[in-house]
Amino acid sequence: MNASSPMKEVGRPLVEVRNLVTRFDLKTGLFGHVSGRVHAVENVSFDIFPGETLALVGESGCGKSTVARSIMQLDKPRSGSIRFDGVELVGAPRQVVAKFRRQAQMVFQDPFSSLNPRMTIEQSLIDPMRVHKLGSLETMRARAAELMAKVELAPELLERYPHAFSGGQRQRICIARALALRPRLIVADEAVASLDVTIQAQVINLLMDLQRDMQIALLFISHDMAVVERIAHRVAVMYLGEIVEIGDRRSIFGNPQHPYTRKLLSTVPIADPTRRPEGRVPMSDEIPSAMRAPDFVPVELPMHQISSTHYVRQVAAG
């Protein structure tokens, strides 16, 4: 419970992301002419250490999921490097990726579309093991039951189909599936956003227990600053595809530097009626879009170091 931040002890990061760029072309017209481009991820760099939780926060559409998918090799980055355990993944041969996929797993936001509706829970849990040929059917079954216990679900439920479960239960099953291969990295993409607070708290506690037990590195994507404050060792704030501020949790929450980080913090409703904000003037500004003209060249603003673990990007003029 009292483990201090692991980065000081472990030398090498498990995941090293450097200058990751992912853009999506929007094609229109007769010959698929590129009429615009979504700069979903621009020049993003960060590390994740074993046993550490890095939280990635930001508004909807700012590119959090794209970062996650790029790490998971589900999206092809335009440029940049992603190393896992020192091995480069971008452009890596299939075997390397396959090996990586045994060690990294992802949990998705929507518990309703994350499970194959035509597979029983047991089949869903066993499938990853089958893919990697981990033992006989009996051992895999035993492991599935074990996993169910781990996420506090009764093993009898294994024969059920997903539609028989509530969202929270499904999310726990997804976590169980992610654990099936004993991963070293879990990417949780808004994995608790759709859950009730009580269940959300349970799931977060569960994740933290698992992380502690198995020294899992966790990339925790969220837009809920209050949740992030509880779970994260370090926090990266994304805005329009870029990381605008990154640092250890206490620096970010205690000493936010970037105006966007501050805004994000100020909008969190405080669950205490005695601390109601007074006299806030209703705003009506909207979130800008990351869509750009095809010939747009992004200007890269420098990052400034605030402390040994805290960096902030310079604010664009105007």
Binding site: M225, A226, P273
Partner: protein, 308 residues
């Protein structure tokens, strides 16, 4: 239809809505009807904001929709209780027993609702202006021109920038936050005395959510209507509510002022709920992440799940 022989229901002067022992069931073929709301009671006073909280599926939306008499379209029936409402003309009506025709006249005019998902709650093929003005034309018998003017004013009221232009736009041309404002404008257009907001911010971005909450608060001060605010986010409750009703499995397990409920939750479920709420700043002096100090509310929970 109001039974002719019963005496007209009465309400205390400052109460605008009183739900008494309301029971709602869904007919499920070949099985016993599912009781989604099991005899709940609460009141809302003039100008007051009541928050209805509870876990997903506890019956919050069903309660709200039943007050609007919309659940019957989903196959539900009011199996007991009353929903008394003080109308603008001072009379008191039992919404649970009104005829379809009379309910139609009340909906939108006396009592209105804003739904959770602004993306799907607006009709994609009609302009924003039409959708706001429609209810005005219908309830107040205004001409289309007058209604348009009212729609414009309402849009301005909900702080939609560039309201004239927006009036002729279609929902898909607006952002999520803007659409939720339009939904609020629709609900406000006829100046109802009670507005129900069913999780109006859950589908929105964090920064937008704050804007909407600010707006609701400001509007309530400006127009002075009562609000029934449904949410499962205790942070939101803390920000907007005067009083809180906590729902669990179709029943209200606790009612009280927002201060009392947060400070001294009495019911075990409320305590569990409040303990699970992440509070910004609560970790300010901690080095490492910490788990939630969970209070287990139902020891038989796992059993129940296993047997489901």
């Amino acid at each position: 239809m109001i039974p002719a022989n019963s005496a007209p229901p009465e309400l205390p002067e400052d109460v605008i809505l009183s739900v008494e022992d309301l029971e709602v069931s869904f007919a499920v073929r070949s099985r016993a009807p599912f009781r989604a709301v099991r005899g709940i009671s609460f009141t809302i006073s003039r100008g007051e904001t009541v928050a209805l909280v509870g876990e997903s599926g506890s019956g919050k939306s069903v309660t709200a929709m039943t007050i609007m008499r919309l659940t019957e379209y989903d196959g539900a029936a009011i199996t007991g209780g009353r929903v008394l409402m003080r109308l603008k003309d001072g009379k008191v009506a039992d919404l649970a027993k009104l005829s379809e025709k009379r309910v139609e006249a009340l909906r939108g005019a006396e009592i209105s609702i804003v739904f959770q998902d602004p993306m799907s709650s607006l009709n994609p093929v009609f302009t924003v202006g039409d959708q706001i003005a429609e209810a005005v034309v219908h309830h107040q018998g205004k001409t289309p021109e007058q209604a348009r003017q009212i729609a414009l004013n309402t849009l301005k009221l909900v702080r939609v920038p560039d309201a004239e232009r927006r009036l002729d736009q279609y929902p898909h041309q607006l952002s999520g936050g803007m659409r939720q404002r339009v939904m609020i404008a629709i609900a406000l257009a006829c100046r109802p005395s009670l507005m129900i907001l069913d999780e109006p911010t859950t589908a929105l971005d964090v920064t937008i959510q704050a804007q909407i909450l600010d707006l609701v608060r400001a509007l309530q001060q400006e127009i002075g209507m009562s609000v029934l605010f449904i949410t499962h986010d205790m942070g939101v409750v803390a920000e907007v509510a005067d009083r809180v009703c906590v729902m669990l499995k179709g029943e209200i397990v606790e009612t009280g002022t927002v201060y009392d409920v947060f400070a001294k939750p009495r019911h075990a479920y409320t305590r569990a709920l409040i303990s699970a709420v992440p509070r910004l700043g609560s970790m300010a002096d901690k080095d490492a992440p910490e788990k939630f100090p969970l209070l287990v509310f139902e020891p038989e929970r796992q059993l129940a799940e296993a047997g489901k």
